[in-house]
Amino acid sequence: MRREGFIVLIAALMLCQGALAHMPGADPAPEADLGPIVVLDNGVPVEIGIDDIAAYHGGLEGKEPDACICCVCMYRVLLAGISEVWGDEIPERSDIGVQSRLVSDGALHTAWYVTGIGPGMDAGSAGRLTLVAPNGSALTDYSTQARMGIAKNRCLGDYRFEVTRLSTGESATLTLCEDLFPEGFFELRRAVNVDKTATEAQSAEFLEKWSFLRADLLQKPDYELFNEIEPPEEEEPDVLGGGVFLALLCITGAGIVLMGKKRR
């Protein structure tokens, strides 16, 4: 009986390992505590996490849930943009306007999901999304083919976004910092994804840089990602509070030591 139990345990273990689907290519996304984007859908608060975005994007692409660089980038733009424009208020979904020069699937799906206008969404209200071509005009054709034509020549300038409060017209423009992108990132991307001329070593290098960039986008604070956001001012140390505490601690400690000596 014991031996059978042991065999069953090993068999169960093997089944578990076999059920795992391994994702080749990029490094797994590191853990990040970004917090959710909170919007009101007809007055009802809705929390949107990066995992929801990954699932939606994966579903539309017919793949495993995965938050690619563009998903994470748009997520951080919306988190920071909403915070800049609305402050502590929670925006109504229909009041959110997004303009993006980044026209990739990941950015589009993320913006769709947050504004509630994407396919398969069960949103009660919807905001507005505008994709912008490199010449500054609004795109009218959102088909994959049309967007791929623009995406071929992706460069730093494409990482420009505007989050608008439609009811008041207030907006925040956000652009990604240049030093986020590893050296030669866009050239490698073109060779690997567009021209398909990359060697194996170049592909591996691109994957490594891609993973590095995604980790930064997931983990760095807003002021290290966006040119427009200032780092928080360092607080002056509370010397009085700390001094009072230390004084009390020292006096009490000395008192206890003296009491102990007197007792002896």
């Binding site: 090993i10 169960a12 273990l13 093997m14 578990c16 390992q17 076999g18 059920a19 795992l20 391994h22 490094d27 797994p28 996304a29 590191p30 853990e31 993973s211």
Partner: protein
């Protein structure tokens, strides 16, 4: 001249009357506290509090103050850039062996003998070991350790040991080498074998704890939990399959007293000195050997060979094979190496647990060999089975929880 029995006893009485003074016993607060700390109802919470203090002081001193506060800055901002600048020819073999990666920005990732090797030995392990041995000596000299042994007796009997097994366990949290020797406090061969095997597999040493605290601070609790569960499960199994007895013991519990600082200092100095004598050469030599193995392509070949086992069965990247080879030389070194490999948090926890339960470091191996080659061979056999089953089990738990 021999005295008759009666006269001898009379003489004893006369001497005793002249030399022994008897007074009325008056229970003092120390006696009461001594009693309360061995009674399970009050003693177990106190043991939890002592362990809390132990770990909190360990991580504040070794982690926040010495390593993060000073050593990281000394090594990463001063030592590493100076060495990278001063050492000629970054493309050469000697640069790779001694300085490591020329593009590395910190000593953990450089992996040269004089960068990672020195940083791990002096910057991370030394403060961890000093504070660990200091606290351990204080507990020992104040009289708390025997009380902990009494408290743990029932628990340890479930895995075929007795309360004094707490001594090698706590020593093992500092360094497994003296802990293996300390298994001699146990009575039977069965007990000594169980303790030695469990020590080699499930007790991470202070050096490893220090590095874990540095590279995966958020996951240390999970790693320790997995190791603790494994300690219980495999101890229970070993107790049932290994023949032999598990006798009761009598423990002499001294009253509580303030430790004598001369004794504490002396013990601390001796323990730290002997640890440094063993550890520093092993860490430096370990980095050198691992780098040579990398250069010779042996680690790459091993990684390819074991890839199916590691990726499918344990759920960790194949790059973890290198650190596992290094783990035989020094486990702290292996954890440091793991930190440079891109992994999900759960993969990192699994990999660190694997490093912990994998072969004991070479120093422990030698001491185990001294205890008997048969015991060592049997311990290694148990260890291989444990790594395979427990590593797979952790991966399976991760899959079922949806995190692996």
């Amino acid at each position: 001249m021999a005295l008759p029995v009666q006269e001898r006893w009379d003489l004893v009485d006369i001497i005793a009357r002249k030399t022994v003074a008897a007074g009325a016993y008056r229970q003092n607060l120390g006696d009461v506290l001594g009693d309360l700390t061995v009674r399970p109802l009050t003693g177990i919470p106190v043991a939890f509090a002592v362990l809390y203090a132990f770990w909190s002081i360990f991580s504040s001193f070794a982690g926040a103050l010495v390593t993060d506060g000073f050593m990281v800055k000394v090594f990463d901002s001063h030592w590493l850039p100076w060495l990278q600048g001063a050492w000629s020819d970054p493309a050469s073999i000697h640069y790779f062996l001694f300085v490591g990666d020329p593009l590395a920005e910190n000593c953990f990732e450089a992996f040269g003998m004089l960068t990672s090797g020195l940083f791990v030995a002096i910057g991370v392990v030394l403060p961890a070991i000093i504070i660990f041995y200091l606290m351990m000596t204080v507990l020992e000299d104040s009289g708390y350790l025997p009380r902990l042994a009494v408290l743990m007796d029932t628990v340890f009997h479930r895995i075929g040991l007795h309360g004094y097994a707490i001594v090698p366990v706590i020593l093992g949290l500092g360094c497994n080498t003296p802990a293996v020797t300390a298994t001699r406090v146990l009575e039977t061969r069965k007990q000594r074998f169980i303790m030695m095997t469990l020590l080699a597999i499930f007790i991470p040493c202070g050096a490893q704890l220090g590095v874990m605290l540095e590279v995966i601070p958020d996951a240390v609790g999970w790693v320790m939990l997995f190791l603790l569960i494994g300690f219980g499960i495999f101890g229970f199994i070993l107790d049932r399959i290994i023949p032999g007895s598990n006798p009761e013991i009598l423990i002499d519990v001294p009253p509580y007293h303030w430790p004598l600082w001369e004794n504490v200092t002396k013990k601390l100095m001796n323990r730290t000195k002997s640890f440094l004598k063993d550890a520093v050469p092993f860490v430096l030599f370990g980095v050198l050997v691992v780098n040579v193995l990398y250069l010779a392509g042996i680690i790459g070949a091993l990684a390819d060979l074991f890839e199916p086992l590691f990726v499918t069965w344990f759920g960790v990247p194949k790059e973890t094979v290198g650190p596992l080879v290094a783990a035989f030389l020094r486990k702290d070194l292996a954890v440091a190496q793991l930190s440079a490999i891109a992994m999900t948090p759960y993969q990192m926890i699994t990999a660190v647990v694997l490093v912990s339960i994998y072969f004991p470091c070479v120093a422990t191996f030698v001491v185990m060999l001294r205890e008997g080659w048969k015991e060592l061979a049997a311990a290694v056999a148990v260890l291989v089975a444990t790594v395979f089953i427990y590593g797979g089990l952790i991966h399976a738990v991760g899959i079922l929880m949806g995190v692996a």
